[in-house]
Homo-oligomer: 412 residues x 2
Amino acid sequence: MICEIISVGTELLLGNIINTNAQYLSQKISELGFDVYYHSVVGDNMERLIEQIKLSRSRADIIITTGGLGPTDDDITKSGLCSALGIDLVLHKESLEKINSYFSKTGKEMPDINIRQAYIPSGGKIIENNNGSAPGVIYEDKKNIFILLPGPPGEMKPMFDKNVFPYLKDKSNSIIESKTLKVVGIGESSLQVMLQDLLDNQTNPTIALYAKVGEVHVRVTAKTDKKSEADYIINKMIERIKDILGDNIYGYDDDTLEGTINKLLKKNKKSIAIAESCTGGLVSDRLTNISGASDSYINGIVSYNNEAKIKILRVKEDTINKHGAVSKETAAEMAAGVKDISKTDIGLSITGIAGPDGGTAEKPIGLCYIGLAFKNDVYTYEFYFNGNRIKIKSNASTKALDILRRFLINLP
Amino acid sequence: MICEIISVGTELLLGNIINTNAQYLSQKISELGFDVYYHSVVGDNMERLIEQIKLSRSRADIIITTGGLGPTDDDITKSGLCSALGIDLVLHKESLEKINSYFSKTGKEMPDINIRQAYIPSGGKIIENNNGSAPGVIYEDKKNIFILLPGPPGEMKPMFDKNVFPYLKDKSNSIIESKTLKVVGIGESSLQVMLQDLLDNQTNPTIALYAKVGEVHVRVTAKTDKKSEADYIINKMIERIKDILGDNIYGYDDDTLEGTINKLLKKNKKSIAIAESCTGGLVSDRLTNISGASDSYINGIVSYNNEAKIKILRVKEDTINKHGAVSKETAAEMAAGVKDISKTDIGLSITGIAGPDGGTAEKPIGLCYIGLAFKNDVYTYEFYFNGNRIKIKSNASTKALDILRRFLINLP
């Protein structure tokens, strides 16, 4: 089957936003074993949208649109499809109720213009939106399947994954299965070198590396006509990769580094408290993104100035005066201090220079110390991170979480 | 003039890479005052590329392609253009010498296949590539201008900026200027209703609304032939919008909510400490993303369990027992507590239920209390947020920051 992606939105044509949706959908469609021959972007212009839909339907089987499902006059995807196909827009009462309740939950009244979001092409099926007010639509006619998705990636992606992917999978003849290994602690180029032999000789399954923020994903994909066979060849390849990468693999598929740590803390019945300086709360934020985090995450301190480090975390004034707030000695006392005041099993700390100011020749921007306190021991680590303030915060938080993960795997 | 961008490359259709080139070119073309009506992505397939070029030339004046100028069999953009227009590919001797010297500079011999890169459409002009071996091409016929650029952004962008932008600027009569107002605290639909009159009657400048996570952006764009006139009509419209939206506007263009707050704290010489429960450190993380945050941000406490609230923040045990950890009473004591222990001017607190567990009929998932302590007063606020755990955390953090911003604007 041939797929085509139409992204609707003048903001794409003005370059205000980047078309992440087209990339995401392309990856998923490729996983399904379908071909994508064209992406198109068209603005919020009825005439050109209709032209584009007519063109796309003449050369593809499945047409996926993103954007233009909002409540405003600019949002024309549904009416554009109706005009192109000569069908009507009709009110879908259940959707109207859902949109109403979406607003009333937040104590607001639904603005009248949101009624537009409850109109769908006659004969179409609604795709639920759990992250916004615009429902998606699937419309099938004799020639094509049209799938209308919202533009915000935070709504589009979960909607596609939950409802559209399984729907399209039913229409695919060949089985494409894939499993993603998630790797932290080694960069993409080193990973490439470590896996060179496997990468050079790949046929089925194929292996692809994807560099992500602070981690790398290795995707193993098999194309067969039986699920059992696909699973077999994927698992065989994964065993070979595991032999090479070992503990650098923190999880699979939907696993997150934070989620893996949450599981390890629960499995080992350990509680944790975090003391952060340069990362400013990011480590705590990431750990508490996991539901059920409160079973092991107890407390976090963002001690941004020295007084907070001394008064709350009980770092010795003398230590800061002698070695500085960014030093392995301060990191050690921060970790021990937060563990003690929070009465947890583990204390994890980070102190560093996120920039753009505050760097010196001796202690440059990007220098970070991480401390881990457990029982009567404190371990400290020194790292340099590249990039701007946001990137340094992000990489430092990942490194601290990875140190914690490796510690929990090999608990003394 | 109407422009169209064709990105050539199967790796885009597979989702292996994201189309940053189309965004970059769109921004630049918009600056030049030209319109972009379509982006297209087509794979390394001769038949489909020729179809695309024929279609694009029928509906646009200027066609810019990226990609497909490399030395391998996959690189078909130049021959595709020649086939579509019925012209010949001819050897450009100077380019051959340049490509040769590009290789010899790195101590390598030019591989034979790179000779292909020295062939250009007959009558075309070469655009120098200082960052790679593939030269670009400008080809003009009676109807269109074709501009062929390399795919790697590190080669495409400098080539466009240095040679193509000035070339196109000579062809432009008008100037396009725009300014973006950043709005927080009202949703896209309500904003549309508030601005309905202006939106209905827009001509020049135009007004567009963009929903972002937790905020909405209003972009005002003017098209004129003099910069001073563009500035004048934009500023006049912005004054009208400001009259309607008032303090709901937190900034312009590159401003962020966190950055605005940082400026307000400095301007008012106020220091702040944050006590978070359900947002898990996200408010602190966001505030400390701003360089120079340490001048006013002192300390953050992520008090995830009751003991941390009681021991560190000095929330009364009785308050938690009587009203619950998620209550306006607890939020108030958290805000006052974190202010006192951190010796700051302001204490800001959040406590709520981020889900997916922990909701009850009385206190459902998404319920949040925000507290703000200043001098001897404590203000509390109640909100309900929709969505999953991550979205609730995000929206609650934005709301807390917005409450702080509005408080700082109208400081008692």
